[in-house]
Symmetry: C2
Subunit: 306 residues, 2 copies
């Protein structure tokens, strides 16, 4: 896939949303946990099985409504090898259902580690005569603190239809401590956008956007507006919607006047919508779909996604 | 463990070195790969088994000579769940042999993901009535691009004898793109050191060093010297030694006048020392130990570790 394919997917589903799969054990529907513990005991394998069932259930529920998902690797890795096995299965299932799949690694790597990881996502890991891709996906999100050395091992797969998202301006309160440092009129997060542009030379798709995208939080609408103006060829992933506080009015500035150029991400407000309704979670899929539809309606009242 | 225990370990072994376990499949001794493939085929499970055997062999070889190891999570994660299972076993074995164990995660996380991960390293993951620690270790290295929100979920375990290392100035060439940005007389990497100090208030050990440490590359001796002068209460992890180019003369500036305050990290130059000798790797343990001894001799000619 590529950034064009993602944008076409957004158009055809009329929904510029990406759902974040950030499972949290205590928030899962009780029945899913009970079933998993029945099978595996109260073990990491049991917890991982619950994540797998829940996430696949979310993927089933949203497949007609949502074009893309973001898989938070840390949630799964916290359960050790069992969690990672569940993540492999969730990734494969998301690809099978034809979602655009972004792995949110939060990592910044260089050198042989970056090479090894990029193979595990994109290129395939060679073991003797065989090649394996344990983490099938369309894109990864990386941390740019290490500079170009941490970007290039991943962007070399952009010509093969993969995307790289760089963390630029994040949603959390303390993001300003590092990211808002300004030198020579440029903030640190702008340096990330400049790096993305620098490595994009021959990577622009038919809608004008680079295969190297950036994450810019929806919680700072003025930043979003200014960055959209200055970087009209970078696709924006916009976190911070929903549970984290941003709404449709805030995130509209991420899009260009034709409704291209961005996708908005929400996790908890969709996954755990059933909890607000006070139910036991048996109908978590219905609530997730309704919440995703509300999110679509909220955003598309400001953004024209024809 | 704590930063005091690490410093005492360095003293008692007279060796301020940490060995980086960064396994790379193609560089492993042939026999180890053959045996693993014999058992598991040319699969990710086979490759992971080779990593486990090799890393445990290195741990056995160096246990009398080296006080600490750094486990590069990405190398193992690149083999999927099988790789992560091998990493769990390597971590547990390193702890069993009484190494000080640093998990090099290269991640920067916040919020529930950071909480989940910190439990998986330090606090224990609760599953029903049970508690699991899939990644037993003494310390983690994190990426500070997200600011305090990415540090606090980990530093809260410092009072329970755990350490947090923050990536500050890395060894790679493009580290300057982000880390050397200067605003108001402070570089971005100094902001990381300032953050470490800010959160260290009640975390200073008996040798005067904080439980929150920082990574400052040995490839920039002038930086190391200046940072040592300015931040005399932060413990430095010094990567970049050996294969990456720094030597004993360069890294000496990381230490205080009594030989406290730092540990130097090397990976490939130790793990794959047998390759320089042109052997088939049957004696990789002997070569690794010799290389570790040379590293110790090189550093301690400049640094007094009584």
């Amino acid at each position: 896939m590529s950034i064009d394919v993602l944008q076409e997917k957004i158009r055809s589903m009329k929904n510029p949303s990406m759902i974040g799969l950030d499972p949290i054990l205590e928030l899962l529907p009780e029945q899913i946990k009970e079933d998993a513990f029945q099978k595996h005991g109260q073990t990491l394998a049991g917890a991982a099985e619950a994540y797998r069932v829940f996430c696949c259930g979310i993927l089933d529920a949203l497949k007609e409504a949502v074009p893309a998902v973001k898989v938070q690797t840390g949630c799964f890795q916290a359960f050790g090898a069992d969690g990672v096995r569940a993540m492999e299965q969730v990734l494969a299932y998301a690809k099978k259902l034809d979602y655009y799949v972004l792995m949110d690694t939060m990592r910044g790597d260089i050198d042989c580690t970056a090479e090894a990881l990029s193979e595990s996502y994109f290129g395939g890991v060679k073991v003797g005569e065989n090649v394996y891709t344990p983490y099938p996906c369309d894109a990864v999100m990386t941390n740019s603190y290490l500079g170009s050395d941490g970007i290039m091992p991943f962007t070399k797969y952009c010509k093969q239809g993969k995307n790289v998202f760089l963390l630029a301006k994040t949603s959390n309160k303390s993001s300003r401590e590092m990211q808002d440092i300004v030198a020579g009129g440029r903030s640190v997060y702008q340096v990330v956008l400049d790096l993305a542009m620098r490595w994009s030379i021959d990577l622009f798709g038919k809608f004008g956007y680079s295969e190297i995208a950036v994450a810019v939080s929806g919680k700072h609408p003025a930043v979003l507006q200014e960055m959209r103006r200055q970087y009209d060829r970078l696709f924006f992933l916009v976190p911070g919607y929903g549970a984290q506080g941003a709404n449709g009015r805030d995130v509209q500035y991420a899009f260009d006047r034709y409704g291209y150029g961005a996708i908005v991400c929400a996790g908890r407000s969709i996954l755990y919508a059933f909890r607000k309704a006070g139910g036991d979670g048996a109908d978590y899929q219905k609530f997730a779909l309704e919440a995703a539809e509300r999110m679509r309606t909220d955003i598309t009242q400001y953004v024209r996604v024809l």
